[in-house]
Amino acid sequence: MDFINQIINGLSTGSMYALVAIGYTMVYGIGKMINFAHGEIIMASSYFALVGISSLGLPPVAAIALSVVLTAALGVITEKVAYKPLRGKGSLEVLITAIGVSYLLQNVFYLIFTSSGKTFPDIMPQGSFHLGGLHITYITLITLIISGVCTGVLLFFIHKTKMGKAMRAVSEDAGAAQLMGINVSSTISLAFAIGSGLGAVAGVIYGAKFSLINPYIGAMLGIKAFIAAVLGGIGSIPGAMVGGLMIGVAESLTISYISSDFSDAIVFGILILILLIKPAGLFGKNVREKV
């Protein structure tokens, strides 16, 4: 029973990683760039929601909606100002700018909100329920449901709608996509908006779950989610979902059954092993380059 409880714990954290990882994957897919500032964008979303609830006195749902909109806008602005001028200059160049943006966001929020933690209001039902011998908190359940729904909707959008397919077309060959009449700039903005908006959902969950937020929470969340995205096969949305859940569960299980001291090392070790066996990640299409 404890084992299953640990798995549920892991799934709950993992689904938050997954939502963030999806943002990475989307932006990567379309811009072939690692948006290192994605974690910070999510940190921003937590603050947006916090300000919405605490300062503006909005009801939680409205605050969340506000946060999603503002975060999406922040993502789009970042893209336009910092990344767009470097488009086509190599992914590494943009990576460095993204690192700059992540420092920038951290410090802007630090200067506004200081680095001491702010308590996030309890916007989700507190407490837990028992199911058989299982002990599940409501937050866990809600997190799982929300991330499942978000992924499902997104998958449908990407694979079944015209805009979604256009997004994939741009991600492959922006020039050719233009020749189809696809507006590349707005498609990329859309990807940033969706990725950041989903991140905002994760940011709110983060706040609700861990109750304390500071300007530096995005860094590790971002790294973990980035790892999840790569593990699942970067560019693949189901991959990001599964990768996130796996990292969450692996963390939870190593801490409880192997060693808390080495938990990070073991999780990273697992990651290395999986990637060595499946070099393009779990869901990555290992298309051999046609010679």
Partner: protein, 234 residues
């Protein structure tokens, strides 16, 4: 006059690739643009479609100046291009590639048109679920043409459509170009290395050499030009 290019110049950094190029394409015509490697044929087509921005000059399509228009808007005016090297979407299926060709359309004939493309290129129908990246070179060329046709273009720019195709397919492709032109009324601007074949189906032709047009006229006349014969017809 469907397309009119006047005093077009293209620069890549310090390289002046296209120098004061002017030409015209009448509705319903097939116009061939031939020239050696690196003469600037692709650059000309890219300039028309706005895939490159560093350019000056006038480009009038269907009465509108499109020289400053972004690439995706130009497609909406029914001007399509089959780019050099095909550039199909490798990770999308054959079918999705065709659907992308119809991106700007919102009529309900799209499905019919896909079937129509399949009838032009039966090989594509066999492979409609396959990822386009794993198609052979010739298959990819068919897909690229099919995809461009899905936008129902008035003017189709073709950049070396016969490159890398087997002789039988080269003939087929030229037949298809003729068909598209005659039966569907699509005007074609055709860039080709295979000059003899291109001149055979074209009405008018221009020869481009290191960024300038050196010979122009009726296709038959160009084909008989002694310099052209020596350099491009072998």
């Amino acid at each position: 006059m469907l397309l009119k290019v006047k005093d077009l110049n293209v620069n890549y950094g310090v390289i002046h690739a296209i120098k004061d190029v002017s030409f015209e394409v009448e509705e319903g015509e097939i116009v061939a643009l031939i020239g050696a490697n690196g003469a600037g044929k692709t650059s000309t087509l890219h300039a028309i479609s706005s895939l490159i921005s560093s350019k000056s000059g006038e480009i009038i399509f269907d009465g509108k100046d499109i020289s400053k228009m972004p690439a995706h808007k130009i497609v909406g005016l029914n001007l399509a291009q089959v780019p050099e090297g095909r550039r199909i979407f490798a990770q999308l299926s054959v079918e999705d590639n065709l659907e992308m060709g119809a991106f700007l359309r919102d009529d309900n004939k799209i499905e019919d048109d896909i079937q129509h493309i399949y009838s032009l290129f039966p090989r594509l129908e066999e492979r409609k679920k396959q990822l386009a990246g794993t198609l052979s070179g010739g298959e990819q060329q068919m897909l690229a043409m099919g995809r461009a046709l899905m936008s129902k273009p008035k003017l189709l720019l073709l950049d070396e459509p016969s490159m890398g195709l087997s002789p039988i397919l080269v003939n087929e492709i030229f037949d298809i170009i003729k068909t598209i032109n005659k039966e569907e009324g699509v005007t074609v601007l055709l860039v080709e290395q295979n000059a003899s074949k291109a001149l055979k189906i074209a009405d008018k032709a221009y020869v481009l050499e290191t960024g300038t047009i050196t010979v122009s006229g009726k296709a038959a006349d160009v084909a008989n030009n002694s310099r052209v014969k020596e350099a491009y017809l072998g």
